[in-house]
């Protein structure tokens, strides 16, 4: 089947999905998930050259569709029903979103087909200041948005130094593993507590914890706690 879609024509994943549903003359409430999913994925394939951010939104929808399709392929297990209900039916959610989006898409079309001021009809552009002073020539009507705009320009000029600095943590899990290996090579038994400095940062704690787990996984060390809430001891295995 030749399948061609120009993706830059679509406003988003919902728009694309709606197009596929219409093309296949389906009803939003009873979409043939399997067919729509296949066509949706084919369309996604075509947009691989598109910019990543847009693609990301399309991919989330792809995942939802695949999820729905896989659920349909699985045999129904009555026992699992309750669980499913709690999690909410992704199909129902999607139908709701599609209906909502379809409404606004139609409303947008209706709006676009109105006789628009400045496009289809025009007003008298002359400013009637003949009687008054003309000193308001470069004055314009203002609102909150204009105030914000001015603010942005002012603040941009005088507060460039107020940027937020993020320091890059240099400690890596691999590094930490090496350090722990060294310590355990020197001592047969080590308490986990001894691995931390006096005031460890959150980052240090996480990295050390990951390093210890990794060493346990590769059976380089074992962890033993002899008493409940007692110290956890590290023993070298190799």
């Amino acid at each position: 089947m030749v399948f061609q879609v120009r993706l830059d024509n679509f406003e988003g994943p919902l728009d694309l999905l709606l197009h596929l549903i219409k093309k296949n003359k389906m009803d939003i409430c009873s979409i043939a998930i399997s067919k729509v999913t296949d066509e949706y994925l084919a369309a996604i394939d075509k947009m691989k050259h598109l910019n990543l951010e847009i693609a990301g939104e399309f991919l989330v929808m792809a995942a939802t569709l695949i999820h729905m399709k896989s659920r349909m392929l699985l045999p129904e297990i009555p026992a699992a029903d309750e669980e499913e209900d709690e999690a909410g039916d992704p199909g129902e959610d999607l139908v709701m979103r599609l209906k909502e989006y379809e409404f606004f898409k139609q409303a947008a079309e209706t709006l676009g087909s109105c006789s628009l001021l400045g496009r289809d009809l025009f007003v008298n552009p002359v400013k009637h200041t003949e009687n008054g002073e003309d000193d308001e020539l470069d004055f314009s009507e203002v609102g909150l948005f204009e105030l914000m705009k001015v603010c942005r320009e002012l603040w941009g000029k005088c507060e460039e130094e107020s940027c937020h600095q993020v320091e890059v943590e240099t400690l890596s899990v691999a590094q930490r593993i090496e350090e722990i290996c060294l310590l355990i090579a020197l001592q047969e038994v080590l308490e986990v507590r001894q691995l931390f400095p006096d005031r460890p940062s959150q980052y240090q704690i996480i990295v050390t914890f990951l390093a210890v787990l990794e060493l346990v996984r590769v059976r380089h060390i074992s962890l033993v706690q002899k008493v409940q809430f007692g110290p956890i001891e590290i023993t070298r295995l190799m």
Partner: protein, 177 residues
Amino acid sequence: MDITELTAIVEALIFSSEKPLKIAQIAELIDLPVGRTAEVVDRIRRNFEECPSHGLFLAEVADGFQFRTRPALAFWIKKLQKAKPLRLSTAALEILAIIAYRQPLTRASVEQIRGVDCGGTLKNLLEKKLIRIAGKKEGPGRPLLYATTDSFLEVFGLRNLEELPDLKQIDQLFSDK
């Protein structure tokens, strides 16, 4: 003042106002009851409407009155206009529709309905004065709320938001939820 003079005054007032003039504003300016004023305005509307040799008509938009060129003459006016005609993208129209029906709402809500980011278009609509910032939402982060403006009504030739098409349908859709 007789009705002829009143009609002339109100016609001149509507013509020279930058924004559509509301009946109440006109009534205050000419010191006449609102009902009487509405009659005068209607007289002007008929004067223009009933005579096909007029290229203008009195439009009722944003709860006010404004002279405009007849839509059928757009072709000729466009020949004259040097300024870029108003253009709204599909995205802009969709966002406008969402804001118009569900205002005030946050950018996140708009994006949830459309399924895509819309920061750029939102800014563009603010610049065109079709939408405005209508305060902040209660709750975490206090995000900005967006709503449509009177210019929105003017541009789309609507008297008020109740004139939006299918308002009932959308209400049903959301009460189903």
